[in-house]
Symmetry: C2
Protein backbone atom coordinates (compact mmCIF):
# COMPACT_ATOMS: atom_id res chain seq x y z
CA UNK A 1 0.00 0.00 0.00
CA UNK A 2 1.36 3.38 -0.90
CA UNK A 3 1.74 6.48 1.26
CA UNK A 4 -1.15 8.84 0.57
CA UNK A 5 0.15 12.40 0.26
CA UNK A 6 -1.59 15.76 0.18
CA UNK A 7 -0.09 19.03 -1.06
CA UNK A 8 -1.18 22.15 0.77
CA UNK A 9 -0.40 25.20 -1.38
CA UNK A 10 0.44 25.03 -5.09
CA UNK A 11 3.28 27.42 -5.86
CA UNK A 12 6.82 26.50 -6.98
CA UNK A 13 7.31 24.18 -4.02
CA UNK A 14 3.93 22.53 -4.41
CA UNK A 15 4.61 21.82 -8.07
CA UNK A 16 8.01 20.43 -7.08
CA UNK A 17 6.34 18.05 -4.60
CA UNK A 18 3.88 16.93 -7.25
CA UNK A 19 6.73 16.10 -9.59
CA UNK A 20 8.85 14.43 -6.84
CA UNK A 21 6.00 12.12 -5.82
CA UNK A 22 6.11 10.63 -9.32
CA UNK A 23 9.72 9.57 -8.70
CA UNK A 24 8.70 7.69 -5.54
CA UNK A 25 6.59 4.65 -6.47
CA UNK A 26 5.56 4.05 -2.86
CA UNK A 27 3.85 7.46 -2.72
CA UNK A 28 0.57 8.57 -4.19
CA UNK A 29 -0.76 12.11 -4.55
CA UNK A 30 -4.33 12.24 -3.24
CA UNK A 31 -5.25 15.91 -3.41
CA UNK A 32 -3.87 19.42 -3.88
CA UNK A 33 -5.35 22.05 -1.57
CA UNK A 34 -5.47 25.68 -2.61
CA UNK A 35 -6.83 28.99 -1.35
CA UNK A 36 -7.63 29.92 -4.93
CA UNK A 37 -10.74 28.80 -6.78
CA UNK A 38 -10.08 25.06 -7.33
CA UNK A 39 -12.05 25.17 -10.57
CA UNK A 40 -9.50 27.53 -12.03
CA UNK A 41 -6.39 25.61 -10.96
CA UNK A 42 -5.01 23.00 -13.35
CA UNK A 43 -2.36 20.71 -11.94
CA UNK A 44 0.11 18.50 -13.77
CA UNK A 45 -1.22 15.13 -12.58
CA UNK A 46 -4.28 13.72 -14.27
CA UNK A 47 -6.98 12.24 -12.08
CA UNK A 48 -5.88 14.02 -8.89
CA UNK A 49 -8.38 16.25 -7.14
CA UNK A 50 -7.90 19.94 -6.46
CA UNK A 51 -9.82 21.13 -3.39
CA UNK A 52 -10.28 24.38 -1.61
CA UNK A 53 -8.47 24.49 1.73
CA UNK A 54 -11.88 24.69 3.42
CA UNK A 55 -12.46 21.05 2.51
CA UNK A 56 -9.29 19.73 4.17
CA UNK A 57 -11.12 18.16 7.15
CA UNK A 58 -12.93 15.85 4.71
CA UNK A 59 -9.57 14.25 3.99
CA UNK A 60 -8.65 13.42 7.58
CA UNK A 61 -8.63 9.66 6.99
CA UNK A 62 -7.70 9.71 3.32
CA UNK A 63 -4.27 11.33 3.57
CA UNK A 64 -1.29 9.95 5.50
CA UNK A 65 1.10 12.89 5.17
CA UNK A 66 0.23 16.48 4.32
CA UNK A 67 3.09 18.46 2.82
CA UNK A 68 2.87 22.18 3.53
CA UNK A 69 4.08 24.39 0.73
CA UNK A 70 3.29 27.83 2.14
CA UNK A 71 5.63 30.58 3.27
CA UNK A 72 7.44 30.79 6.59
CA UNK A 73 6.39 34.36 7.30
CA UNK A 74 2.61 34.15 7.19
CA UNK A 75 1.43 30.63 6.32
CA UNK A 76 3.34 27.96 8.20
CA UNK A 77 3.18 29.45 11.74
CA UNK A 78 -0.54 28.69 11.84
CA UNK A 79 -0.95 26.07 9.08
CA UNK A 80 1.55 23.53 10.38
CA UNK A 81 0.13 23.26 13.92
CA UNK A 82 -3.46 23.35 12.60
CA UNK A 83 -2.90 20.56 10.09
CA UNK A 84 -0.79 18.51 12.51
CA UNK A 85 -4.03 17.91 14.40
CA UNK A 86 -5.34 15.93 11.43
CA UNK A 87 -2.35 14.55 9.54
CA UNK A 88 1.31 13.77 9.75
CA UNK A 89 2.88 16.91 8.28
CA UNK A 90 6.16 18.09 6.81
CA UNK A 91 7.06 21.73 6.30
CA UNK A 92 10.08 23.78 5.24
CA UNK A 93 9.84 26.49 7.90
CA UNK A 94 13.03 28.53 7.57
CA UNK A 95 12.74 31.59 9.80
CA UNK A 96 15.63 30.53 11.94
CA UNK A 97 15.03 32.70 15.00
CA UNK A 98 11.46 31.48 15.31
CA UNK A 99 12.13 27.74 15.06
CA UNK A 100 11.87 27.17 18.85
CA UNK A 101 8.36 28.63 19.10
CA UNK A 102 7.26 26.97 15.85
CA UNK A 103 8.61 23.65 17.12
CA UNK A 104 6.74 24.01 20.43
CA UNK A 105 3.41 24.83 18.77
CA UNK A 106 3.69 22.02 16.24
CA UNK A 107 4.90 19.54 18.85
CA UNK A 108 1.94 20.00 21.12
CA UNK A 109 -0.59 19.86 18.27
CA UNK A 110 0.98 16.76 16.69
CA UNK A 111 1.52 14.92 19.97
CA UNK A 112 -2.03 15.50 21.20
CA UNK A 113 -3.46 14.05 18.02
CA UNK A 114 -1.07 11.13 17.59
CA UNK A 115 0.69 12.55 14.55
CA UNK A 116 4.31 13.02 13.55
CA UNK A 117 5.42 16.41 12.23
CA UNK A 118 8.78 17.17 10.64
CA UNK A 119 9.58 20.86 10.39
CA UNK A 120 12.30 22.90 8.68
CA UNK A 121 12.95 20.32 6.01
CA UNK A 122 14.77 21.01 2.74
CA UNK A 123 18.42 21.76 2.09
CA UNK A 124 19.03 24.72 4.40
CA UNK A 125 17.55 24.16 6.90
CA UNK A 126 17.73 20.47 6.14
CA UNK A 127 20.60 18.70 4.44
CA UNK A 128 23.03 21.50 5.26
CA UNK A 129 21.95 21.32 8.92
CA UNK A 130 22.56 17.57 8.95
CA UNK A 131 26.00 18.06 7.50
CA UNK A 132 26.87 20.74 10.04
CA UNK A 133 25.82 18.27 12.76
CA UNK A 134 27.64 15.20 11.40
CA UNK A 135 30.80 17.20 10.80
CA UNK A 136 30.74 18.78 14.25
CA UNK A 137 30.35 15.51 16.12
CA UNK A 138 33.19 13.92 14.16
CA UNK A 139 35.60 16.85 14.57
CA UNK A 140 34.75 18.49 17.90
CA UNK A 141 37.86 20.68 17.60
CA UNK A 142 37.14 22.50 14.39
CA UNK A 143 35.07 25.12 12.67
CA UNK A 144 31.96 25.01 10.44
CA UNK A 145 31.48 27.24 7.42
CA UNK A 146 28.38 27.54 5.24
CA UNK A 147 28.56 29.21 1.83
CA UNK A 148 25.48 29.70 -0.34
CA UNK A 149 25.33 29.92 -4.09
CA UNK A 150 25.79 30.47 -6.82
CA UNK A 151 22.05 30.91 -6.75
CA UNK A 152 19.00 33.10 -6.83
CA UNK A 153 17.98 34.64 -3.52
CA UNK A 154 14.26 35.26 -3.65
CA UNK A 155 14.38 37.66 -0.69
CA UNK A 156 17.11 39.81 -2.20
CA UNK A 157 15.46 39.81 -5.63
CA UNK A 158 12.22 40.98 -4.00
CA UNK A 159 14.06 43.72 -2.12
CA UNK A 160 15.48 45.10 -5.37
CA UNK A 161 12.07 44.90 -7.06
CA UNK A 162 10.61 47.17 -4.37
CA UNK A 163 12.95 50.03 -5.39
CA UNK A 164 11.26 52.81 -7.34
CA UNK A 165 11.94 52.57 -11.06
CA UNK A 166 12.68 48.80 -11.02
CA UNK A 167 10.45 46.68 -13.26
CA UNK A 168 12.10 43.33 -12.52
CA UNK A 169 15.20 42.04 -10.74
CA UNK A 170 17.16 38.89 -10.04
CA UNK A 171 19.84 38.65 -7.35
CA UNK A 172 22.51 35.95 -7.34
CA UNK A 173 24.43 35.10 -4.19
CA UNK A 174 27.94 34.00 -5.12
CA UNK A 175 30.50 32.47 -2.75
CA UNK A 176 33.93 34.09 -2.98
CA UNK A 177 36.63 31.76 -4.23
CA UNK A 178 39.38 33.13 -1.97
CA UNK A 179 37.31 32.50 1.12
CA UNK A 180 36.32 29.01 -0.06
CA UNK A 181 39.95 28.14 -0.74
CA UNK A 182 41.14 29.44 2.60
CA UNK A 183 38.50 27.36 4.38
CA UNK A 184 39.38 24.25 2.36
CA UNK A 185 43.04 24.74 3.24
CA UNK A 186 42.07 24.36 6.90
CA UNK A 187 43.24 27.89 7.67
CA UNK A 188 40.08 28.42 9.77
CA UNK A 189 39.86 32.08 8.70
CA UNK A 190 37.71 34.68 10.42
CA UNK A 191 35.39 35.81 7.65
CA UNK A 192 32.99 38.74 7.44
CA UNK A 193 29.81 38.65 5.37
CA UNK A 194 31.68 40.62 2.69
CA UNK A 195 34.54 38.11 2.65
CA UNK A 196 32.26 35.15 2.04
CA UNK A 197 29.70 36.22 -0.55
CA UNK A 198 29.34 38.50 -3.52
CA UNK A 199 25.91 39.79 -4.59
CA UNK A 200 25.19 40.21 -8.28
CA UNK A 201 21.99 41.91 -9.41
CA UNK A 202 20.35 41.91 -12.83
CA UNK A 203 17.86 44.73 -13.06
CA UNK A 204 15.25 45.70 -15.63
CA UNK A 205 14.59 49.42 -15.15
CA UNK A 206 11.36 51.16 -16.04
CA UNK A 207 11.56 53.57 -18.94
CA UNK A 208 13.20 56.81 -17.97
CA UNK A 209 14.26 55.61 -14.52
CA UNK A 210 17.40 57.05 -12.92
CA UNK A 211 19.82 54.13 -13.16
CA UNK A 212 22.47 55.75 -11.02
CA UNK A 213 20.02 56.26 -8.17
CA UNK A 214 18.76 52.68 -8.45
CA UNK A 215 22.29 51.28 -8.31
CA UNK A 216 23.08 53.46 -5.29
CA UNK A 217 19.91 52.44 -3.49
CA UNK A 218 20.68 48.77 -4.06
CA UNK A 219 24.28 48.99 -2.91
CA UNK A 220 23.42 50.97 0.22
CA UNK A 221 20.37 48.94 1.28
CA UNK A 222 20.95 47.93 4.92
CA UNK A 223 20.88 44.19 5.85
CA UNK A 224 20.47 43.13 2.22
CA UNK A 225 23.42 44.72 0.41
CA UNK A 226 25.30 47.31 2.47
CA UNK A 227 27.60 44.72 4.07
CA UNK A 228 28.52 43.08 0.76
CA UNK A 229 30.30 43.82 -2.48
CA UNK A 230 27.46 44.21 -4.91
CA UNK A 231 27.53 44.28 -8.71
CA UNK A 232 24.56 45.76 -10.57
CA UNK A 233 23.80 45.10 -14.26
CA UNK A 234 20.96 46.76 -16.11
CA UNK A 235 19.46 44.47 -18.74
CA UNK A 236 16.40 44.36 -20.96
CA UNK A 237 13.29 42.40 -20.07
CA UNK A 238 14.08 40.09 -23.01
CA UNK A 239 17.50 39.34 -21.52
CA UNK A 240 15.89 38.75 -18.13
CA UNK A 241 13.51 36.23 -19.60
CA UNK A 242 16.15 34.54 -21.74
CA UNK A 243 19.01 34.31 -19.25
CA UNK A 244 17.49 34.46 -15.78
CA UNK A 245 14.28 32.51 -15.68
CA UNK A 246 15.71 29.53 -13.78
CA UNK A 247 15.86 29.22 -10.00
CA UNK A 248 19.28 27.62 -9.49
CA UNK A 249 20.95 27.47 -6.09
CA UNK A 250 23.39 25.47 -4.03
CA UNK A 251 26.25 25.95 -1.66
CA UNK A 252 28.88 24.39 0.55
CA UNK A 253 29.07 23.19 4.14
CA UNK A 254 32.69 22.76 5.12
CA UNK A 255 34.19 21.80 8.44
CA UNK A 256 37.88 21.59 9.10
CA UNK A 257 39.34 20.25 12.29
CA UNK A 258 42.39 18.62 13.78
CA UNK A 259 42.98 15.30 15.50
CA UNK A 260 45.83 13.42 17.11
CA UNK A 261 47.97 13.68 20.20
CA UNK A 262 49.37 17.07 19.17
CA UNK A 263 46.45 18.09 16.90
CA UNK A 264 48.81 17.89 13.97
CA UNK A 265 46.50 16.09 11.55
CA UNK A 266 44.00 18.22 9.68
CA UNK A 267 40.80 17.01 8.08
CA UNK A 268 38.39 18.64 5.66
CA UNK A 269 34.75 17.53 5.42
CA UNK A 270 32.87 19.16 2.58
CA UNK A 271 29.26 18.80 1.46
CA UNK A 272 28.12 20.68 -1.59
CA UNK A 273 25.01 21.07 -3.69
CA UNK A 274 24.68 22.38 -7.22
CA UNK A 275 21.00 22.67 -8.05
CA UNK A 276 19.27 23.62 -11.29
CA UNK A 277 16.04 24.15 -9.40
CA UNK A 278 15.94 25.20 -5.76
CA UNK A 279 12.22 24.43 -5.23
CA UNK A 280 12.37 21.04 -6.98
CA UNK A 281 15.36 19.93 -4.93
CA UNK A 282 13.74 21.16 -1.71
CA UNK A 283 10.63 19.21 -2.69
CA UNK A 284 12.69 16.08 -3.29
CA UNK A 285 14.19 16.30 0.20
CA UNK A 286 10.76 16.86 1.72
CA UNK A 287 9.30 13.78 0.00
CA UNK A 288 11.96 11.53 1.53
CA UNK A 289 11.21 12.95 4.98
CA UNK A 290 7.47 12.55 4.39
CA UNK A 291 8.14 8.83 4.04
CA UNK A 292 9.98 8.88 7.37
CA UNK A 293 7.11 10.76 9.07
CA UNK A 294 4.71 8.07 7.88
CA UNK A 295 6.95 5.22 9.08
CA UNK A 296 7.61 6.87 12.44
CA UNK A 297 3.91 7.23 13.11
CA UNK A 298 3.37 3.57 12.22
CA UNK A 299 6.03 2.74 14.82
CA UNK A 300 4.05 4.64 17.43
CA UNK A 301 6.07 7.84 17.58
CA UNK A 302 4.41 11.21 17.79
CA UNK A 303 5.16 14.92 18.10
CA UNK A 304 7.47 17.32 16.30
CA UNK A 305 10.80 16.23 14.84
CA UNK A 306 13.51 17.80 12.75
CA UNK A 307 15.95 16.22 10.30
CA UNK A 308 18.23 15.62 13.30
CA UNK A 309 15.78 13.15 14.82
CA UNK A 310 15.21 10.90 11.82
CA UNK A 311 17.11 7.61 11.44
CA UNK A 312 18.33 7.80 7.82
CA UNK A 313 17.07 4.29 6.99
CA UNK A 314 13.48 5.52 7.39
CA UNK A 315 13.96 7.89 4.46
CA UNK A 316 14.32 5.02 2.02
CA UNK A 317 11.71 2.73 0.49
CA UNK A 318 14.29 -0.07 0.75
CA UNK A 319 14.42 -2.58 3.61
CA UNK A 320 17.23 -2.41 6.18
CA UNK A 321 18.70 -5.57 4.60
CA UNK A 322 18.73 -4.01 1.14
CA UNK A 323 20.30 -0.82 2.47
CA UNK A 324 23.08 -2.73 4.23
CA UNK A 325 23.72 -4.79 1.12
CA UNK A 326 23.59 -2.00 -1.46
CA UNK A 327 24.75 1.17 0.25
CA UNK A 328 26.73 0.34 3.41
Amino acid sequence: MSIRVGIYGYGNLGRGIESAIKQNPDMELVCVFTRRDPEKLTIATEGVKVCHVDKVTDYKDRIDVMILCGGSAKDLPTQTPDLAKMFCVVDSFDTHAKIPEHFARVDSAAAQHGNVAIISCGWDPGMFSLNRLYAEVILPEGKNYTFWGKGVSQGHSDAVRRIEGVADARQYTIPKTDALNSVRNAEEPLLTARDMHLRECFVVAKEGADLERIEKEIKEMPDYFADYDTIVHFISSEEMKRDHSGIPHGGFVIRTGATGADSSNNHVIEYSLKLDSNPEFTASVICAFARAAYKLQKKGELGCKTVFDIPPSLLSPKSPEELRKELL
Copy 2:
Protein backbone atom coordinates in the same frame (compact mmCIF):
# COMPACT_ATOMS: atom_id res chain seq x y z
CA MET B 1 28.27 11.44 34.39
CA SER B 2 30.52 10.58 31.51
CA ILE B 3 30.36 7.64 29.14
CA ARG B 4 32.87 5.02 30.22
CA VAL B 5 34.73 3.70 27.19
CA GLY B 6 37.04 0.72 26.71
CA ILE B 7 39.45 0.22 23.80
CA TYR B 8 39.92 -3.35 22.62
CA GLY B 9 43.11 -3.55 20.58
CA TYR B 10 45.81 -0.91 20.53
CA GLY B 11 47.06 -0.37 16.99
CA ASN B 12 46.64 2.74 14.83
CA LEU B 13 42.87 2.74 15.29
CA GLY B 14 43.09 2.16 19.05
CA ARG B 15 45.50 5.06 19.44
CA GLY B 16 43.16 7.19 17.33
CA ILE B 17 40.26 6.34 19.66
CA GLU B 18 42.36 7.22 22.69
CA SER B 19 43.13 10.59 21.20
CA ALA B 20 39.53 11.21 20.03
CA ILE B 21 38.12 10.51 23.51
CA LYS B 22 40.12 13.50 24.77
CA GLN B 23 38.19 15.75 22.37
CA ASN B 24 34.87 14.56 23.80
CA PRO B 25 34.47 15.83 27.38
CA ASP B 26 31.48 13.57 28.05
CA MET B 27 33.62 10.47 27.46
CA GLU B 28 36.16 8.84 29.68
CA LEU B 29 38.67 6.14 28.78
CA VAL B 30 38.53 3.39 31.41
CA CYS B 31 40.87 0.72 30.10
CA VAL B 32 42.82 -0.43 27.05
CA PHE B 33 42.72 -4.18 26.41
CA THR B 34 45.55 -5.90 24.58
CA ARG B 35 46.62 -9.39 23.58
CA ARG B 36 50.20 -8.38 24.23
CA ASP B 37 51.86 -8.30 27.64
CA PRO B 38 50.13 -5.31 29.30
CA GLU B 39 53.27 -4.58 31.31
CA LYS B 40 55.11 -3.82 28.11
CA LEU B 41 52.48 -1.57 26.56
CA THR B 42 52.68 2.15 27.30
CA ILE B 43 49.67 4.19 26.26
CA ALA B 44 49.37 7.94 25.80
CA THR B 45 46.89 8.62 28.61
CA GLU B 46 48.21 8.82 32.14
CA GLY B 47 46.29 7.01 34.84
CA VAL B 48 44.44 4.69 32.48
CA LYS B 49 44.80 0.95 32.97
CA VAL B 50 46.14 -1.46 30.37
CA CYS B 51 44.77 -4.98 30.78
CA HIS B 52 45.19 -8.28 29.04
CA VAL B 53 42.11 -9.25 27.02
CA ASP B 54 41.66 -12.20 29.42
CA LYS B 55 40.56 -9.73 32.10
CA VAL B 56 37.77 -8.16 30.06
CA THR B 57 34.94 -9.86 31.99
CA ASP B 58 36.10 -8.02 35.15
CA TYR B 59 35.01 -4.81 33.45
CA LYS B 60 31.44 -5.86 32.64
CA ASP B 61 29.89 -3.18 34.87
CA ARG B 62 32.65 -0.62 34.61
CA ILE B 63 32.51 0.09 30.88
CA ASP B 64 29.51 1.45 28.97
CA VAL B 65 30.81 1.11 25.43
CA MET B 66 33.63 -1.10 24.20
CA ILE B 67 35.26 0.08 20.99
CA LEU B 68 36.74 -2.75 18.95
CA CYS B 69 39.91 -1.86 17.12
CA GLY B 70 40.83 -5.22 15.58
CA GLY B 71 40.83 -6.30 11.96
CA SER B 72 37.83 -7.33 9.90
CA ALA B 73 39.44 -10.53 8.62
CA LYS B 74 40.31 -12.36 11.80
CA ASP B 75 39.39 -10.33 14.88
CA LEU B 76 35.97 -8.74 14.57
CA PRO B 77 33.95 -11.75 13.33
CA THR B 78 34.34 -13.35 16.78
CA GLN B 79 35.24 -10.37 19.00
CA THR B 80 32.23 -8.19 18.24
CA PRO B 81 29.56 -10.82 19.02
CA ASP B 82 31.53 -12.05 22.06
CA LEU B 83 31.93 -8.61 23.57
CA ALA B 84 28.35 -7.57 22.67
CA LYS B 85 27.28 -10.04 25.37
CA MET B 86 28.91 -7.82 27.98
CA PHE B 87 28.98 -4.29 26.62
CA CYS B 88 27.53 -1.94 24.08
CA VAL B 89 30.05 -2.19 21.25
CA VAL B 90 31.11 -0.31 18.14
CA ASP B 91 33.28 -1.79 15.40
CA SER B 92 34.54 -0.80 11.96
CA PHE B 93 33.89 -4.13 10.20
CA ASP B 94 34.52 -3.47 6.52
CA THR B 95 34.43 -6.80 4.67
CA HIS B 96 31.44 -5.82 2.61
CA ALA B 97 30.29 -9.23 1.43
CA LYS B 98 30.23 -10.57 4.98
CA ILE B 99 28.25 -7.75 6.60
CA PRO B 100 24.94 -9.70 6.57
CA GLU B 101 26.34 -12.64 8.53
CA HIS B 102 28.33 -10.37 10.85
CA PHE B 103 25.19 -8.31 11.47
CA ALA B 104 23.16 -11.43 12.30
CA ARG B 105 25.73 -12.80 14.76
CA VAL B 106 26.19 -9.45 16.51
CA ASP B 107 22.45 -8.75 16.57
CA SER B 108 21.56 -11.95 18.34
CA ALA B 109 24.39 -11.59 20.91
CA ALA B 110 23.63 -7.93 21.64
CA ALA B 111 19.85 -8.37 21.77
CA GLN B 112 20.01 -11.35 24.11
CA HIS B 113 22.13 -9.40 26.55
CA GLY B 114 20.34 -6.07 26.35
CA ASN B 115 23.14 -4.25 24.57
CA VAL B 116 23.36 -2.02 21.53
CA ALA B 117 25.99 -2.76 18.89
CA ILE B 118 26.90 -0.51 15.97
CA ILE B 119 28.91 -2.23 13.25
CA SER B 120 30.75 -1.02 10.15
CA CYS B 121 31.37 2.44 11.50
CA GLY B 122 33.95 4.86 10.12
CA TRP B 123 34.01 6.74 6.84
CA ASP B 124 33.61 3.92 4.29
CA PRO B 125 31.64 2.04 5.44
CA GLY B 126 30.22 4.86 7.54
CA MET B 127 29.96 8.48 6.48
CA PHE B 128 30.24 7.58 2.78
CA SER B 129 27.43 5.03 3.20
CA LEU B 130 25.25 7.65 4.86
CA ASN B 131 25.87 10.04 2.02
CA ARG B 132 25.06 7.39 -0.59
CA LEU B 133 21.78 6.80 1.26
CA TYR B 134 20.78 10.45 1.75
CA ALA B 135 21.60 11.28 -1.86
CA GLU B 136 19.68 8.30 -3.23
CA VAL B 137 16.50 9.04 -1.31
CA ILE B 138 16.56 12.68 -2.42
CA LEU B 139 17.24 11.95 -6.09
CA PRO B 140 15.63 8.56 -6.84
CA GLU B 141 16.32 9.07 -10.55
CA GLY B 142 20.08 9.40 -10.52
CA LYS B 143 23.37 7.62 -10.09
CA ASN B 144 25.84 7.29 -7.19
CA TYR B 145 29.61 7.38 -7.64
CA THR B 146 32.25 6.77 -4.98
CA PHE B 147 35.87 7.77 -5.57
CA TRP B 148 38.60 7.04 -3.05
CA GLY B 149 41.79 8.96 -2.46
CA LYS B 150 44.18 10.40 -2.79
CA GLY B 151 45.23 8.09 -0.04
CA VAL B 152 47.20 5.12 1.17
CA SER B 153 45.59 1.73 0.64
CA GLN B 154 46.89 -0.61 3.31
CA GLY B 155 45.75 -3.72 1.43
CA HIS B 156 47.49 -2.74 -1.80
CA SER B 157 50.65 -1.68 0.04
CA ASP B 158 50.73 -5.06 1.77
CA ALA B 159 50.24 -6.85 -1.55
CA VAL B 160 53.28 -5.11 -3.03
CA ARG B 161 55.34 -5.87 0.10
CA ARG B 162 54.71 -9.58 -0.40
CA ILE B 163 56.53 -9.53 -3.77
CA GLU B 164 60.00 -11.07 -3.70
CA GLY B 165 62.71 -8.44 -3.57
CA VAL B 166 60.51 -5.72 -2.04
CA ALA B 167 61.69 -4.32 1.30
CA ASP B 168 58.91 -1.76 1.76
CA ALA B 169 56.06 -0.28 -0.27
CA ARG B 170 53.34 2.32 -0.17
CA GLN B 171 50.40 2.40 -2.60
CA TYR B 172 48.33 5.52 -3.21
CA THR B 173 44.87 5.29 -4.73
CA ILE B 174 44.21 8.42 -6.81
CA PRO B 175 40.86 9.40 -8.34
CA LYS B 176 41.13 10.36 -11.99
CA THR B 177 40.26 13.98 -12.66
CA ASP B 178 38.53 13.35 -16.01
CA ALA B 179 36.16 10.85 -14.44
CA LEU B 180 35.47 13.16 -11.47
CA ASN B 181 34.69 16.04 -13.79
CA SER B 182 32.40 14.00 -15.99
CA VAL B 183 30.47 12.83 -12.94
CA ARG B 184 30.23 16.36 -11.57
CA ASN B 185 28.91 17.56 -14.93
CA ALA B 186 25.97 15.17 -14.46
CA GLU B 187 26.98 13.18 -17.54
CA GLU B 188 26.31 9.96 -15.60
CA PRO B 189 29.18 8.18 -17.35
CA LEU B 190 29.71 4.43 -17.35
CA LEU B 191 33.11 4.04 -15.72
CA THR B 192 35.41 1.04 -15.42
CA ALA B 193 37.79 0.57 -12.50
CA ARG B 194 40.57 1.89 -14.74
CA ASP B 195 38.57 5.01 -15.61
CA MET B 196 38.02 5.96 -12.00
CA HIS B 197 41.28 5.39 -10.15
CA LEU B 198 45.01 5.46 -10.73
CA ARG B 199 47.35 3.38 -8.55
CA GLU B 200 50.75 4.85 -7.66
CA CYS B 201 53.32 2.70 -5.88
CA PHE B 202 56.48 3.75 -4.06
CA VAL B 203 58.75 0.77 -3.60
CA VAL B 204 61.97 0.23 -1.68
CA ALA B 205 63.73 -2.73 -3.34
CA LYS B 206 66.13 -5.05 -1.57
CA GLU B 207 69.74 -4.80 -2.69
CA GLY B 208 70.30 -6.49 -6.02
CA ALA B 209 66.63 -7.11 -6.67
CA ASP B 210 65.38 -7.21 -10.27
CA LEU B 211 63.46 -3.94 -10.55
CA GLU B 212 61.97 -4.74 -13.91
CA ARG B 213 60.53 -8.01 -12.63
CA ILE B 214 59.10 -6.30 -9.53
CA GLU B 215 57.43 -3.60 -11.61
CA LYS B 216 55.97 -6.24 -13.94
CA GLU B 217 54.69 -8.35 -11.04
CA ILE B 218 52.99 -5.33 -9.51
CA LYS B 219 51.33 -4.18 -12.71
CA GLU B 220 50.07 -7.64 -13.59
CA MET B 221 48.83 -8.61 -10.13
CA PRO B 222 45.20 -9.76 -10.54
CA ASP B 223 42.46 -8.00 -8.50
CA TYR B 224 44.91 -5.50 -7.04
CA PHE B 225 46.56 -3.86 -10.07
CA ALA B 226 45.84 -5.63 -13.37
CA ASP B 227 42.61 -3.68 -13.98
CA TYR B 228 44.20 -0.28 -13.30
CA ASP B 229 46.79 2.07 -14.70
CA THR B 230 49.64 1.67 -12.26
CA ILE B 231 52.73 3.81 -11.80
CA VAL B 232 55.73 2.35 -9.97
CA HIS B 233 58.53 4.45 -8.46
CA PHE B 234 61.60 2.92 -6.84
CA ILE B 235 62.84 5.02 -3.95
CA SER B 236 65.32 4.72 -1.07
CA SER B 237 64.25 3.76 2.43
CA GLU B 238 65.21 7.28 3.53
CA GLU B 239 62.81 8.76 0.97
CA MET B 240 60.11 6.33 2.10
CA LYS B 241 60.52 7.46 5.68
CA ARG B 242 60.72 11.15 4.82
CA ASP B 243 57.92 11.41 2.26
CA HIS B 244 55.53 8.53 2.90
CA SER B 245 55.15 7.98 6.62
CA GLY B 246 51.67 9.52 6.88
CA ILE B 247 48.40 7.64 6.41
CA PRO B 248 46.32 10.19 4.47
CA HIS B 249 43.12 9.26 2.72
CA GLY B 250 39.79 10.65 1.60
CA GLY B 251 37.46 10.54 -1.34
CA PHE B 252 34.23 11.66 -2.91
CA VAL B 253 30.64 10.45 -2.90
CA ILE B 254 28.76 12.12 -5.73
CA ARG B 255 25.20 11.63 -6.88
CA THR B 256 23.68 13.37 -9.85
CA GLY B 257 20.05 13.17 -10.73
CA ALA B 258 17.24 14.98 -12.48
CA THR B 259 13.91 16.36 -11.31
CA GLY B 260 10.95 18.17 -12.79
CA ALA B 261 8.07 17.39 -15.10
CA ASP B 262 10.39 16.65 -18.03
CA SER B 263 13.47 15.71 -15.93
CA SER B 264 15.18 18.81 -17.29
CA ASN B 265 16.70 20.04 -14.02
CA ASN B 266 19.97 18.43 -12.94
CA HIS B 267 21.35 18.36 -9.43
CA VAL B 268 24.74 17.44 -8.05
CA ILE B 269 25.19 16.29 -4.45
CA GLU B 270 28.82 15.89 -3.43
CA TYR B 271 30.38 14.80 -0.15
CA SER B 272 34.12 14.77 0.14
CA LEU B 273 36.76 14.03 2.75
CA LYS B 274 40.40 15.06 2.79
CA LEU B 275 42.08 13.37 5.71
CA ASP B 276 45.62 13.71 7.02
CA SER B 277 45.15 10.54 9.06
CA ASN B 278 42.80 7.77 8.01
CA PRO B 279 42.82 5.92 11.38
CA GLU B 280 42.39 9.09 13.44
CA PHE B 281 39.42 10.24 11.37
CA THR B 282 37.86 6.77 11.49
CA ALA B 283 38.33 6.84 15.27
CA SER B 284 36.64 10.24 15.47
CA VAL B 285 33.59 8.92 13.63
CA ILE B 286 33.47 5.85 15.86
CA CYS B 287 33.54 7.94 19.05
CA ALA B 288 30.47 9.89 17.97
CA PHE B 289 28.63 6.64 17.25
CA ALA B 290 29.76 5.21 20.58
CA ARG B 291 27.87 8.06 22.23
CA ALA B 292 24.78 7.12 20.22
CA ALA B 293 25.09 3.45 21.21
CA TYR B 294 25.16 4.50 24.85
CA LYS B 295 22.14 6.79 24.50
CA LEU B 296 20.15 4.20 22.53
CA GLN B 297 20.67 1.59 25.22
CA LYS B 298 19.54 4.07 27.88
CA LYS B 299 16.37 4.54 25.82
CA GLY B 300 15.74 0.81 25.96
CA GLU B 301 16.90 -0.16 22.48
CA LEU B 302 18.94 -3.28 21.86
CA GLY B 303 20.51 -5.32 19.09
CA CYS B 304 22.73 -4.54 16.14
CA LYS B 305 22.54 -1.23 14.26
CA THR B 306 24.44 0.45 11.49
CA VAL B 307 24.97 4.14 10.77
CA PHE B 308 21.69 4.03 8.83
CA ASP B 309 19.69 3.37 11.99
CA ILE B 310 21.04 6.16 14.18
CA PRO B 311 19.12 9.44 14.59
CA PRO B 312 21.87 12.05 14.01
CA SER B 313 20.96 14.01 17.15
CA LEU B 314 22.13 11.08 19.29
CA LEU B 315 25.68 11.55 17.99
CA SER B 316 26.01 14.92 19.69
CA PRO B 317 26.62 15.79 23.33
CA LYS B 318 24.29 18.75 22.81
CA SER B 319 20.59 18.75 23.72
CA PRO B 320 17.95 18.70 20.97
CA GLU B 321 17.17 22.35 21.84
CA GLU B 322 20.81 23.36 21.42
CA LEU B 323 21.07 21.50 18.13
CA ARG B 324 17.97 23.17 16.71
CA LYS B 325 19.22 26.56 17.83
CA GLU B 326 22.83 26.24 16.72
CA LEU B 327 22.90 23.94 13.73
CA LEU B 328 19.44 23.72 12.13
